[in-house]
Symmetry: C5
């Protein structure tokens, strides 16, 4: 039985963790979930570290919604740097699922984007733990989480074989 | 008995630590407080680390007020990076309570913002130590410390259930 | 027998890893390859670290394609910082092979650039492992991977001897 | 007997260390001084670390003068990040005394600023080592080193008590 | 006998390492040199670390030439951060000798700048290892490597004594 950690914030304006948890249970079995909520994204790295060290999680998903101001972008950068550091301390993956508030044109799209990105990254989390070959099959395919996939640059061309 | 560390600066233009300490005592019991004042925000990380290592604090609140100039923003980034590093070394939370001087339109609003943000983060500190479920109840709710809460993007909609 | 690790992403829009693997086999022998695909560039550092620690790789090539937006540039910076950290933890080289999507004027050039840069860095990887003197012979020569070499500033001059 | 380390550079255009040393001796007793000069600010962190590890310094003051160009600002950021890291490795304070060359309107003001900031931070260094309560008394007071103090935002108001 | 490590790149457009090596031999004796060439500046930190750990170098000079584009500036920042980290791991100095391609107005000046900066930093390296007092004598003197020295701000004034 694997253990997937979920870190999220009260700052975010959408309950992305619940979308991801719902999608994880639709995708497969063989895991349990441990959730840890903190105030803001800069609090997520130590929460993730504690999930790894105290609960022995196998992978963590970290959800956050940076605001639109420069100070928010700086917070996102520092949070990401911390999440990176935790991964390198623990040798475990953290999937960072951040939706920047200014990625969407209005609240409706923002809610959709949060739900969709969380679900698509939940599938990535499942693949990393249980079916890593599914990721290699899609290497270089221009996949996106949330908005539409970009696709590979050479789709339709005959010059390159995967 | 828990021990909450308080780090603040002589650079800040408001005594945010006193607001937080006052609010902590209003919020609950079961903790003591240890305070450590340094000149500026870049001095706060090592102070926090010493509070964890010498006094065995369970959580630290770090208060600072970055100025409006680019050099001040850089100082804030470096201080935040240091506070992150201390959290990952100690596996303990540091709540960073920074009020950027240019967040407020005048000194009156700045004083109000400092007081209010410090108090709201004091409650977050209490929850992290004593009632973590209170945070999960508010996951994705768009809470803010200081200015008004943004609220969830799907409030009033019928499309999503928490 | 050396082991070369390959980390790539499903986010990238070109299968750069396959170009590099093809070129490695054209360049020489004495190595095997282990591939690890992750969703995005910020997932590459921990993948590289696992290739070093679990499979004892001697060198890793990390392939990624940062998008054109500021948030993508920040992701690239954080990924690079993580790849740096992994190198310093393991004392092994990681050749970072990033192609920024906005380096090319269209998809055709982007595909060409991805293929070419991957191949030229594959040769660098081979030299680092098997023929380091080939690199010293070209020190200060203004070599580039992908686009045309810039060349040395003093080519044609008589004032300086290598 | 405490030992205060002094790190400075040949790049800076003012001998800030001598100002600080002079002020330290005016401020109190109970310490000795060890000085280590390096070429530029990016060389100061390892110098500080060596002062801590080889000479067992209790605190280090690091003096530098970043130039006005973007490359200089980047150097300052990297130096500060390194000084932060050294503090967290040693659990000792480093007071970073940087004067950016473009903070002053001319050379005369620059010399005055260097001298004054160095002296005021020398007093901070003394307080950190010998009289930490002096800092707490001034928490939130808007103190500055070099230019005039900003003062607290609520001076003269009746709405807040320290 | 001291050992000076030299790290340089095939990306740079001038063989700065050869200038530095030539100048080191003109400056003094008592050292040997070990050279390690890598593709680009982001590869220099792990090369420096290997020179320290495998060859027991006493000091490393790291040569690089960041290009003029934002992506190049980011690479320089990451390389510098890595070189900083290596210094703090090993407690040894790395003199970073970077010449940004856009510092010079044309190729001729670029070549001159590379040669001159490399030579002047070679002397700094020698002083750090063999005559550290020479650096303290020049503390605060506004020295530059490459372009003309800026000099101290108080030259000619009578208000300040070193």
């Amino acid at each position: 039985m694997k253990l997937i950690g979920i870190v999220d914030t009260t700052f975010a304006r959408y309950d992305m963790a619940s979308s991801a948890i719902d999608e994880l249970y639709k995708t497969g079995t063989g895991f349990e979930i441990k959730r840890y909520t903190v105030p803001g994204i800069k609090d997520t790295p130590v929460a993730a570290l504690r999930l790894f060290s105290e609960y022995n999680c196998d992978l963590v998903m970290a959800f956050g919604m940076p605001g639109p101001m420069p100070v928010d972008k700086m917070s996102a950068q520092i949070a990401s740097t911390g999440l990176m550091e935790v991964q390198l301390k623990t040798m475990k993956h953290i999937l960072e699922v951040f939706v920047h508030e200014d990625e969407a044109k209005d609240d409706r799209e923002l809610a959709w984007l949060c739900d969709n990105r969380s679900r698509e990254h939940a599938v990535n989390a499942y693949y990393l733990l249980f079916e890593p070959d599914k990721l290699t099959e899609n290497a270089g395919s221009g996949l996106r989480q949330g908005f539409e996939d970009r696709g590979p640059v050479n789709s339709g061309s005959s010059g390159h074989k995967h």
